[in-house]
Symmetry: C2
Subunit: 139 residues, 2 copies
Amino acid sequence: MGNKEQDACRAWQLLIKFYFVHRRELPAAETDCDLSPAQCHVLHLIEPGQPIPMGRLAELLSCDASNVTGLIDRLESRGLVQRRPLEHDRRVKALDLTPAGLHVRAQLLRHMTRRPLPLSRLSPEDQRTLVRILQRLVE
Amino acid sequence: MGNKEQDACRAWQLLIKFYFVHRRELPAAETDCDLSPAQCHVLHLIEPGQPIPMGRLAELLSCDASNVTGLIDRLESRGLVQRRPLEHDRRVKALDLTPAGLHVRAQLLRHMTRRPLPLSRLSPEDQRTLVRILQRLVE
DNA sequence: TATTGTTATACTCTATAACTATA
DNA sequence: TATAGTTATAGAGTATAACAATA
């Protein structure tokens, strides 16, 4: 029967609810770092030492490329991000974190993972189980 | 020891990652319904038959009250939401869904729960376990 | 006087369309 | 001609501060 479907659907609904409930907690971490949600997302996506083309970033953000221009303009003017044209194709501009950007990104990740409060309601076994299941979901 | 802390922290990080990965999938459901993310959030929060004061909505959205004014202006001009002053305290304006709003909200929830795809990777047992654990998290 | 919501203002985020530079 | 990114424009989302109406 469709029990498996039902469980998957129910889990999906719960994850969405969790998403909504906590989408209002994450911004606290973001404003702690003086970043807008979009800027936070960008910093999260630019992995240290792995320059990423602007177009690829637009894909990951699911937004228009024109958007990325302004987003990066602001981060660059704050000294957190650098544009550099690729040697073999000068149309492409690769983004990388500056030292200051690295620092803010690390701070952001610390702040975002600072409050696992609702999770402490779970038993140790459930916490381990949740970790195992989620790892499979996001891999 | 700190194992419990570690598991809670790890689970939190994974949920955040899940949040980021899927924050770009949910907007598809939102634009299907021709709603912005914020409008989607509002419709999600106004439960059918349970009028909610504007200030309470600002709390739930974790945003300034002045924001809610514009947000509701736009939804009201589209005929999805109604403002009504409470009889016993006419400062307070309670929000309720119109019939059209009810319809769009139901459509939105359907679209949002339409794709439990990554969840189908999990075994039936894991799906049930995930449901049980998440229920405790969002209750 | 205190509270609820609105208005005015300014900035960020977002998409569309037209454009520039490079390939 | 096609692609990567930018610019111009317009509308939505957001916060702060000053305001109006009600309590």
